[in-house]
């Protein structure tokens, strides 16, 4: 497609030269500030503290056995396991709720995306207002007279106590749903309206249309939503740090906290090794994802051959 077919090799070479010309400034900087540090991380994870001698996998064993690392890793996995499905489904539901083909309902859409652009540092004071021990949340819980643990009623410290985990989940979703909603809406807008009309003529109800048109039409979007949410999940450190400081409750002590502590003592070895583990985790997640998609595509082809009634647009 991009390659202008049928032209001579000379044009191809010329194109290639132009491409490198456009790329050069970016490549130079990316090499210095991104790729080189990245390669350096790989190298150092196999070296001793001075960065002189190779130590094989002993760094990996050390980090793996490290208590703080285990705590942070377990918490991070738990956080992701709770947040990702919640975020994906919440944003999907909200996108369905606010999506209009005719472009109406703009106020609602704007409102839903707004948290994305509000600086965490600015909103943190309001979170404290709601979550502190005499804050709005406890007042609300007392107001509806939900039974509480103490005689004085609800006095939970939502920010620093064990309850900080759900609080972090909620603030994360509040902040990040907007971006995913925009992605979902773009996916919804790309589904041709004629499919819905055809289904309606055939007597398909709203649930059937959701099941057989909307959801299959959004598989590509789903992948992107998951990837970008995963990437953004590490930014939850901002909320965690600004709400609870650098020594939060055990339940929300996560990988970024660990890194910032190691960074204070410039524990290069541990940081590089843990980084490699993170990269490994990312890559294996990506590989698993690719494998699932391949299997589904094979399976889907088999199904498609059976009932090729759908009007395929792509």
């Amino acid at each position: 497609m991009r390659r202008r077919n049928g032209r001579s090799a000379g044009i191809y070479r010329q194109q290639s030269r132009a491409a490198w010309f456009f790329l050069a400034p970016s490549l130079a900087g990316v090499a210095v500030f991104n790729a080189f540090p990245f390669a350096d991380v790989i190298r150092r994870s196999f070296l001793d503290a001075m960065g002189k001698h190779g130590v094989g996998l002993s760094n990996y064993r050390n980090v793996w056995g490290n208590d703080a690392f285990q705590l942070a890793a377990v918490n991070t996995v738990r956080f992701l396991a709770v947040c990702m499905p919640l975020l994906v489904f919440t944003s999907f539901g909200l996108a369905l709720l606010a999506f209009r083909r005719d472009g109406k309902g703009n106020f609602c859409r704007t409102s839903l995306v707004l948290p994305m652009v509000i600086p965490v540092a600015a909103i943190v004071l309001v979170w404290k207002m709601i979550l502190c021990r005499d804050g709005l949340l406890n007042q609300l819980l007392n107001g509806i007279s939900l039974p509480a643990g103490t005689a004085e009623g609800w006095e939970t410290d939502w920010v620093n106590g064990a309850a900080s985990f759900p609080v972090l989940v909620v603030t994360y979703i509040w902040k990040n749903a907007g971006y995913d909603i925009l992605l979902w809406m773009a996916g919804l807008a790309a589904i041709p309206e004629s499919l819905y009309d055809a289904a309606r003529v055939d007597g398909a109800g709203a649930a059937a249309r959701l099941r057989y048109i909307t959801i299959p039409g959004l598989t590509g979007t789903f992948g992107l939503v998951v990837i970008l949410s995963l990437v953004n999940s590490f930014r939850v450190y901002r909320e965690a740090y600004l709400l609870a400081g650098s020594y939060p409750d055990m339940s929300i002590y996560m990988i970024p906290h660990l890194f910032s502590h190691w960074f204070l003592t410039l524990d290069v070895q541990n940081m590089c090794t843990a980084s490699m583990m993170l990269i490994g985790a990312f890559l294996s997640a990506a590989a698993a994802w690719a494998a699932i998609r391949r299997i589904r595509r094979l399976y889907g082809d088999a199904c498609d051959r059976k009932n090729r009634l759908t009007i395929s647009e792509r």
Binding site: W20, N34, A35, C108, T110, D134, A186, F259
Partner: protein, 291 residues
């Protein structure tokens, strides 16, 4: 109007349910914002009466209000005329964010153009590397980036934030996706009219990829304006700190102006978003297209 939601009851009932739900969700967004806005117009004694605990002045019941009892401009006056520290931090934020964005445009847009429009050996692999670097959390390369910046002598200067910002690969990804949506015929026409590669890029590529460029810059702005990890790691001196790092401490420093400062910090990204909303939606939509 189309219904994609709910399978129960008459159309009218569904519309009502939908409206109520939308309103409830919007309220969840607006209530925190309005609480902040109201608090920013409260004089100091009302602030302390209502929000002593969140401001870190001991335990007292929070008496929240969406409308101040004694509306006053004094917090803003305090902030804008009597808080030189705030201006320094605001300026620091500008100095760290704006050059990085300009650089992303100058360096990232041509790179995105190369990825989107040319075929050359290694294109796929290189783009994969860019995406991988974009996906990695900041913490992964934090320490070796620190060592690089140390070698180059940029630690504890604005450049420690600006330079890595310029060569962030996320804007390249967004702009590439957007350039890919330009119809090939448009470019063929430009070539046939005798425009060279550079002219085609400037006069056809940049205007047609406008939405993607705006999206990349807007998201870049939001991210850098919120920067926390980078300044914590690379800036030692407090007088270099950006607003995002200083704001959480302002409550102890100048409680009277704390909420006004939050509003002022919030304004630039919110105004930019409201202006670029349709471009942002287009740009994000383009980024969702499979390659």
């Amino acid at each position: 109007m189309k219904m994609y939601f709910g399978s129960f009851g008459s159309v009218r009932l569904r519309v009502t349910v939908r409206k109520i739900l939308s309103a409830a969700v919007c309220l969840l967004v607006w209530i925190p914002v309005l609480l902040m806005l109201a608090a920013s117009f409260m004089p100091e004694d009302e602030l302390i009466y209502r929000y002593a605990e969140p401001l870190g002045m001991g335990r007292e019941t929070v008496r929240a209000a969406l409308i101040p009892s004694y509306p006053a401009l004094s917090p803003y006056i305090e902030l804008l005329f009597k808080s030189p520290g705030f201006f320094v931090m605001f300026w620091n934020s500008c100095v760290q964010v704006l050059p990085a964005l300009a650089g992303q445009l100058l360096v990232g847009a041509p790179a995105a153009w190369a990825f989107a429009r040319f075929s050359f050996p290694g294109r796929r692999q290189l783009f994969f590397l860019y995406v991988l670097l974009m996906v990695l959390p900041f913490q992964v390369t934090q320490v070796s980036n620190y060592l690089v910046l140390d070698k180059l002598g940029f630690l504890n200067t604005h450049l420690a934030l600006i330079l890595p910002g310029i060569w962030s690969t996320f804007p390249v990804f967004i702009m590439t996706k957007s350039f890919e949506t330009i119809p090939g015929a448009l470019l063929e026409a430009a070539y046939l009219d005798g425009a060279g590669e550079i002219r085609t890029f400037i006069y056809v590529g940049l205007p047609s990829g406008y939405a993607g460029i705006v999206t990349a810059l807007l998201l870049g702005f939001i991210d850098s304006w919120n920067a926390l990890e980078q300044p914590v790691a690379y800036l030692k001196d407090m007088f270099l700190w950006p607003l995002s790092l200083y704001l959480p401490n302002i409550a102890q420093d100048k409680a009277a102006a704390a909420f006004a400062a939050c509003i002022v910090m919030m304004l630039p990204p919110v105004l930019l978003y409201l202006n670029g909303q349709s471009e942002l939606e287009q740009g994000i939509a383009a980024s969702g297209v499979k390659e």
